[in-house]
């Protein structure tokens, strides 16, 4: 079971994802609603896995990812993207993201991707 940080600017998305993760026995140790907050919470909480929405205000998911990877090359970050963002996903994977999930997703997709990373 992993300690997970959820990063998404939409509260509904966060609640939804949290529900899926908790049901599977994971622990959600923190939530952030923008990139800046994500980087800070990552340093404070040291989660096993981060789920990172791509489009967010303040600092977007890509930049937050790069920030996190710079100081924590072993970080496990999964990107959450909307349809039609293939170029951004590619950039994220090249910058060190481990995998990605496209919205809307099935709970099983999330669970499987996290399982692969553990």
């Amino acid at each position: 079971m992993s300690k997970i940080l959820i990063v998404d600017d939409s509260m509904i998305s966060r609640i939804n994802l949290k529900k899926i993760l908790l049901a599977e026995g994971h622990e959600v140790i923190g939530e952030a609603s923008n990139g800046l907050e994500a980087v800070k919470k990552f340093e404070d909480l040291k989660p096993d896995i981060v789920t990172m929405d791509i489009t967010m205000p303040e600092m977007d998911g890509l930049e937050a990812l790069r920030n996190i990877m710079r100081s924590n090359p072993a970080a496990k970050v999964i990107m959450i993207s909307a349809l039609g963002q293939n170029n951004k996903i590619l950039e994220a994977l090249q910058s060190g993201a481990k995998n990605y999930i496209t919205k809307p997703y099935e709970p099983s997709q999330v669970i499987n991707i996290i399982k692969e990373l553990c």
Binding site: I12, I15, N16, G84, N86, N87, I89, L90, L93, Q94, K98, N99, Y100, P104, E116
Partner: protein, 639 residues
Amino acid sequence: MQENIGRLAQKIHSFTLEETGKQVHALFEANQDLEGVVVLDNDKPAGIIMRTDFYQKLGKQFGFSLYMNRPVSIVMKKDFLLVDAATEISDISMRAMNRNNDSLYDFIVVEENEKYLGVVSIKQFLLDLAKKREEQIILLKSINERERAHREAIEEMHSSIRNLMDNAGQGFLSIDGNFAVSEQYSRECISIFGCEIGGTNFIDLISPYLNDDQRNTVPSILKEVFGGPEGAKVNVFLTLMPKELKIREKIIKLEYKVIENTGNKSLMLILTDITEKKELEQKMAEERNHLKLIVKAVSNQDDVISAIQRLREFFAKDAVFLLKSGQTKAMIVAELFRSVHTFKGDLSHLYLMNASSNLHKLEDSISAMSSRIDEISLKDLETFVSEVDVEGIIEKDVKVINDILGEDYFNECEHFLIPLDVILTLEQLASNILSKEDHDKLIPEIRKLRCHNIKEILRGFDDSIQNIALRLEKAVQSLAVKGDDVFIDKQKYQSFIKSLMHIFRNSIDHGIETPEQRVEIGKSETGKIDCEIKMGNDNSLTIIIRDDGRGIDYERIKKKAVEKGIYTSDSVRNLSSEQVADIIFLDEFSTKDSISIVSGRGVGLSAVRSEVERLGGIIKVKTEPGNGTEFIISIPLIY
């Protein structure tokens, strides 16, 4: 190396002989990658149903109706390759290969002790053969003395694989780290790309068929696939490759697999032509629509005929009149747009889908005109209206009706068992002769002869509601209509009733949340729309249409009204919530940015309001954020 086929068998979904085609269809729909299913008679395999066969049969004339509700035993293939689990794989390859071209790609069904064990798909079979072939090559390198014998065996196997690949009707090709296509590829590749492809650069080869986004990403993805250090992540990158491309007018499905042996990495591609499948799916959808059209045409002949008649009349008379009305060009275009939009809704309500989609295109042209209204002269507008080909717009749907119901369909006028004037005379007589008491008793009965219960009329919307919900991926319970029985003269209220469709559309599109969102906020997954009919003492009729959706977002409406220039940011602040609600009935207002065939142009609610006002009624809207919206319409009853 000897191995049994049982090892490859995979248990897939099976049906009993009694289950229906509909259930098979549902399973295929839900599992797009499922190639086929097995039919069992108790535990014994009795037949197989391959997806392609199934939809080919369904695609034939009346195939849909013929197979959907009947047992799968009449649609399944009884002639299929059935082998015992202990059979050696090499024995089966020849038998599988020697099947007819049309069954070459069928499952091999495996049984054990005469009981169903599982199936082996040909793709899986091929991959297994290919893998074994690689293993054998490695083995050969270390055992010199056997080399010759083995090479012969491999060549034989190779040519079997080659034969299978060439006949599989799929393109197989592989590319190396320099993105060059290997000289070994299946024949189908030539027909897909229209040329020999050995040695060409893969990116150059597919580049003409990519969109801008893909053209930018594909080279980088391939670079990662071949250069990336991590094994598992390669597959993550591969998911970003195009899965479907239109290559030389054909729709091709692409699958990718990384093959790694002795330090050499290559990427194998499997290309499948799914054009026919897509066309069949489209044809099936069309057949379903036509069936609905015919049902409507039979049950609502007068509605269908009059809708078409009104469309013709609009362009022949009303539109011409409008052009000469002396209104501004902008107003004329707005009125044209609103009328076409309403016709579009009417026709789609009657399942004249081809006509409705033609009107959607016409709407696009009108909306393009309104955006450059200053460059257009009245003369241009006249030309535009005179060039609208009404017959062309309705041609396809009319032909469907004529083909099935006969040419006389449109020539017959609406007939009553009792001529209408007789009823009217009866009514007249009743008023003149009878006492007030008797008159009040009898009149409603006579009116029933020519009038319809509004509850019944409203229930008729349910079909369209379900249809729209489906298209917008929402779930809505079937329309509940309750309240008083009020009989109205359909003729007099026709255009008003049609306009109600706009309210339903709005509720589904803007009000009802997606099932996910609903569950999230603790509502039941399925949205609810209901109607209530009230007969007032003052001979008025009240219709309440309510939904349990998200309600109207007043702040969003205000913001939009300012953006659209309807109000200034100062004046909007002083509006009462009632005044804000009224904005949604304005011609130029819409809260959705995208335009869909279902709604979103915002003209809908304004059309309802003008219909209600034409009848001397009023429309109000009440909303409770998060809990739903209520449209309240009161109109006087006219007989």
